[in-house]
């Protein structure tokens, strides 16, 4: 009896001890994530007043009415969604063969080497990667030099400071996330599936199209959602590769807040961007894919 009580007591204290582990981070997230974002939501329902940051008790829907009645902002939202969708699609097409090769490389050293390349580029500061992109894509950049050297074009082709440039930059940004998501899924497909299709007389291409590709579908879906959420949120890529000529939502937020001190309207755009991004993330989580080990 006393022994059972002792076990019960120690079980309880251990249980409490476990909660002590997570309380600091929960407190940190509530204080510096939930409350600030919550206040931002509240700010978006305040009447617009230039220069005022503090939340007031007046409720107004004017900011949202303004957002949804001005074609300028609606088009920015549409452009953001379109951009992120195009980037998801292109990133998928570019990343799939890379992920396939990584997944099928069985030599451990070679496999690790390829993963290190992907991981190192993912961890490298985006500004540095864009510096390289700008040198390659600029009017006097490498590609234009080659084109003109070969006589393909007379003058420089505008490869950046436009929508196209932002797409190029975002694909470079998103590739590692897509690759890591796909590698996990492709690795999980039993080779016997494709072998079975082959032994039944399917050509290699047909076996790939009918077996391997459909079996990669969960990774394709969650990778695309992840890339969508990441690229719609990016400020740095549209800023540098679009040269502020491609007005997507993050650019508008910065302009409203930092340049015009319109906190309420800036908060409204921020809330709309946050909700679009969070929806994509929620669907991504719903799919239950954690193939990138929580690193993506």
């Amino acid at each position: 009896m006393t022994k059972a009580l002792a076990i019960g007591a120690s079980g309880l204290s251990q249980h409490q001890l476990k909660w002590l582990l997570v309380v600091p981070l929960v407190a940190f997230f509530v204080l510096f994530f939930v409350i600030p974002v919550g206040l931002l939501f509240a700010t978006s329902f305040n009447p617009a007043k230039v220069g005022q940051v503090a939340v007031v008790s007046d409720i107004s829907f004017d900011n949202y009415i303004r957002f949804f009645s001005r074609s300028n902002y609606l088009m920015a939202a549409g452009r953001s969604v379109l951009l992120a969708s195009i980037v998801s699609l292109i990133t998928l097409v570019v990343a799939y063969p890379m992920a396939f090769v990584i997944a099928k490389t069985e030599n451990p050293a070679r496999n690790t080497f390829l993963l290190i390349l992907v991981l190192a580029s993912m961890q490298l500061d985006m500004v540095i990667r864009l510096y390289g992109m700008m040198v390659i894509l600029g009017d006097n950049g490498l590609i234009n030099q080659i084109f003109q050297g070969l006589g393909l074009t007379d003058g420089p082709v505008a490869l950046m400071y436009n929508f196209r440039g932002v797409v190029f930059g975002l694909v470079q940004f998103a590739l590692p996330f897509m690759i890591l998501t796909l590698v996990g899924v492709i690795k999980g497909i039993p080779p016997s599936l494709e072998e079975a299709a082959r032994s039944l007389g399917a050509s290699r291409r047909r076996a790939f199209m009918r077996v391997t590709l459909p079996a990669s579908m969960p990774g394709i879906l969650s990778g695309s959602l992840l890339v969508f959420a990441l690229s719609i949120s990016s400020y740095i890529v549209p800023a540098l590769m679009g040269g502020f000529r491609v007005g997507v939502l993050p650019i508008h937020i910065y302009q409203q807040v930092a340049e015009s001190a319109r906190f309420q309207f800036g908060a409204t755009i921020a809330v709309i961007l946050f909700l679009i991004s969070a929806t994509a993330v929620a669907v991504y989580l719903k799919l239950g894919n954690r193939s990138s080990g929580g690193l993506a």
Binding site: L39, M98, F100, L119, G132, A239, F263, F274
Partner: protein, 268 residues
């Protein structure tokens, strides 16, 4: 026997790797160019811009500012993240998966929005830390801790809990069982997680945008501000140091934990 990887697939993959890596190579070459302006291919190789970077007040101070900020972030993220990962691995709490998703969510939510929210919060709450290193510190902890949780979580997933239970049943206190059994087994995971936290903070741009002040900026912000107007080869030279730091970190991570296993499927 036919090759495992069809040739068209291999060619496409090589092109993809060029897309991923060539811009990085370009930065290295640009930082080592002899020319006054950034041209490609470089006119010749020299250390002149590296030396110029080492003498430049702007980039060198930004580099060290980022380094300091990343170290500060690393310490807090490692402690908070490891503790939370332990909880998530051991608790049978019903909302565990939701809590994990909540902790990981900053990584995929817009950094500009979170940075703006923090900036407004710092002003209205009167904390007096908007546009200071302390405000940046808080923003960076939010974005770095998820990586610690992911990495430590992965090493806890491969650790056999029954070892710790055995120590407990032999009379070790919970603290002692943790110190003697669990900790040594996940120590390398914690180290790898802290390296991730460091490097994520070091390269963080989006959340820093609203939170940094002129004259005390992290390196990505300083580089961005100059890149908006003109290409400076000493910015590329600063980039070389950052690239070296990232490659060293990833290699070190790979020595500590099996990167291949780290990136594999992980549940709970």
């Amino acid at each position: 026997m036919e090759r495992k990887i069809p040739l068209p697939m291999l060619v496409l993959a090589i092109l993809g790797f060029c897309y991923l890596l060539f811009p990085i190579l370009v930065v290295v070459l640009a930082g080592l160019t002899t020319g006054e302006f950034l041209t490609f291919p470089p006119k010749g190789l020299s250390l002149r811009w590296v030396i110029s970077f080492l003498n430049s007040e702007k980039y060198l101070s930004a580099f060290f500012f980022s380094f300091k900020l990343a170290l500060m972030t690393m310490v807090v993220s490692t402690i908070l993240g490891t503790a939370a990962a332990l909880f998530l691995a051991r608790s049978r709490f019903i909302g565990r998966a939701a809590l994990r998703a909540f902790f990981l969510s900053p990584v995929v939510l817009p950094g500009v929005v979170v940075g703006f929210a923090l900036y407004a919060f710092f002003i209205t709450s009167g904390l007096g830390i908007s546009r200071t290193i302390w405000g940046l510190w808080i923003g960076h902890i939010l974005y770095s801790t998820p990586y610690v949780i992911g990495t430590v979580g992965a090493s806890l997933a491969t650790f056999d809990v029954s070892l710790e239970e055995a120590a407990r049943s032999l009379g070790a206190s919970p603290m002692r069982a943790f110190r003697k059994i669990t900790f040594p087994n996940i120590a390398q995971g914690i180290q790898a997680g802290s390296i991730f936290a460091f490097i994520v903070s070091f390269g963080q741009f989006e959340v820093s945008l609203f939170l940094s002040a002129p004259n005390s900026e992290p390196l990505p912000i300083a580089m961005y501000n100059s890149l908006r107007y003109k290409f400076e080869p000493d910015a590329a030279a600063a980039g070389i140091f950052a690239i070296t730091l990232v490659i060293a970190s990833v290699l070190l991570t790979n020595r500590l934990v099996n990167i291949r296993r780290l990136l594999e499927r992980q549940d709970g």
